[in-house]
Symmetry: C2
Subunit: 361 residues, 2 copies
């Protein structure tokens, strides 16, 4: 496959969700809507194109959309060559457009805020230096995300039992991050340590990120994976097959409540009912200490047709509404561990919110 | 739509899952695989065609497949015109083929056993009288199923709160029975009583019986229904929106453990966690007193492709296995009520297995 990229990916792998191509000064993304049938990389030239791509699910995953938003703001600096004020206005406008694409993932707002601070620092420089400063910051966000995933992956992997059957949900993998992955980072690290793990990937309706993306990327890396429909999880908990659960997150509130892909809460209840550890893997950029609890996290409501239409076939009779909350909230009391690059938080045994806040340096 | 039927349906409705057409002496079934896009009735002329149709999911639902198996055995009597012994052999052979199509639903074996007893009674009669005796028995099974659904529907409806939002799973409706439905019978009766109920239908992967069938039949009857993906149930329990759960069953063991469509167990755990009544609606033909507990109920394992292929598109990368248990077991301790035409069993509060057995007349 052609990656459309003039240099080696920052992620260190030979495939990726998002990279920036310095030669053409454009974003390159794998169109995740086409997986697993087709691996196609596309070039995105403007911040508006990137915003559309986030909204349309070309790219998804909280850390990944933060990274691509940062690159989009580097493209603003590429294009806005007039004075400091005009540059800051253009940066602010693009930031607001990007931030409005998905409400739940806090990494988006976090990356935009960080890029805006950088914009303030570089706004008085010459246009080319300004662009280079913004691009350096976006690349730093990307590199740090990969490093964070590797670090939190190691921390989590240390807690995965030898020979574990691990349930995961949605895709919290290399495709959802700058590379390596959060939940799949834990699984990759456990596999790399020779722990002989096996994965059950919940298919994750309606978008099927588990079936389409998680199965694809784990199989590609030679990690044993089987797909189940989301409603099978209870059965495999009941049969004792599942030993460990790890998922990603789109936002973690100050009290350790966790927002993640719809269906996560059900898995947390089932895991707790069956005394199976329920854990969350997320970089620190996912922790939002300004959000007090899960009740304060906005839940994105997406369209009926994304539920009613499955693989291009309409499965629901005309006139019947569908509900589509895209995320849910898992309360801290059901979470055994949150793996971050700064350390492990253990909400269930009460190491919250103090530890979470103490980890904030 | 043409129903291909020369008389009014036994179910009393103007549409149906299965009927027998005495004029052509053949089974007529709605091909449920095509719903909701197309309402197409097809004629099935031989027991083998019926067995294939059950295996291929043209018809599904424990009571409905019992009824169609009974009609298939009437067709054996239609065709086997020689002596009593040959007739009994033909009946036995067809019964074994039909019984092997789906292992979990006990109604299939129940209907075949009942038809075989009738075969013993009528085997010495003239071929035409033999056929008539077998057809009468099959029609009795069909009529009794409709009457049972109406009766258990009334019993269940009395327990549905006014204005309830009711969660159901899979399709336990007119399409799954001789007409009216079990779980949807409870909902139809509550609606008919003016209880102002609203339904959340879990889509029920992989076959999407909830999205395709339950939404279609409730919408057709003017009962408010919305479709959710299975993994949203936890979220709507958590938000307090769901007040009542009612599902069907494929087999109820003597200790009140309930086999039903995969995903039911997860809903039962969630309902119990949120203090929402979890109830089961099933005719007495679903109760299998010879099966001691859920552990003794065979769980049908179906093919990978039914999970990997969604709406004709392959959603899972080549080489990745999928698991596909088609049913799960909900333990009696999670079941608030079982509505049968003979009365209500309350497993959770300990009215089991004695009451269940006392109900057996």
């Amino acid at each position: 496959m052609s990656t459309n990229l003039s240099r080696a990916p920052l992620s260190g792998a030979d495939w990726f969700a998002v990279e920036f191509d310095p030669a053409t000064r454009a974003v390159v993304m794998l169109d995740q809507r086409l997986l697993p049938a087709e691996v196609r990389y596309e070039r995105y030239q403007t911040p508006d194109e990137v915003a559309d791509a986030i909204r349309d699910m070309v790219i998804r995953g909280a850390p990944a959309i933060g990274i691509v938003a940062a690159y989009a703001l580097a493209m603003v600096a590429r294009d806005e060559r007039s004075d400091a004020k005009m540059f800051l206005v253009a940066n602010g406008t693009a930031g607001r457009i990007l931030n409005a694409t998905r409400p739940t993932a806090v990494n988006l707002g976090w990356a935009i805020a960080r890029m805006s601070r950088k914009a303030g620092e570089v706004c008085e420089l010459e246009p080319e230096a300004r662009y280079q400063g913004m691009l350096d910051e976006a690349e730093a966000i990307h590199r740090e995300d990969v490093a964070s995933c590797r670090r939190l992956g190691e921390l989590g992997a240390a807690e995965v039992p030898e020979g574990a059957v691990i349930l995961t949900h949605c895709n919290a993998g290399a495709l959802a991050t700058g590379g390596y992955g959060t939940a799949l980072g834990v699984i990759r690290a456990a596999h790399a340590e020779g722990k002989n793990v096996r994965v059950l990937a919940g298919e994750t309706r309606p978008y099927l990120q588990g079936a389409r993306l998680t199965a694809w990327e784990l199989h590609r890396d030679g990690i044993p994976v089987e797909v189940i429909t989301d409603n099978m999880a209870g059965h495999f908990f009941q049969s004792g097959e599942i030993n460990f659960v790890v998922v990603g997150s789109d936002r973690i509130a100050a009290n350790s409540d966790v927002a993640n892909k719809i269906g996560t809460y059900s898995l947390a209840v089932l895991a707790n009912q069956h005394d199976v550890p329920f854990t969350v893997a997320a970089p620190w950029s996912t922790v939002d200490l300004r959000t007090r609890s899960g009740a304060d996290i906005p839940i994105e409501q997406r369209s009926r047709d994304e539920v009613a239409t499955v693989g291009k076939m309409t499965m629901v009779a005309d006139g019947v509404p569908c509900r589509h909350p895209a995320f849910d909230i898992t309360p801290a009391r059901l979470v055994d561990a949150i793996y971050t690059e700064r350390g492990i938080v253990r909400p269930k045994i009460g190491e919250r919110p103090d530890l979470l806040q103490s980890l904030q340096s």
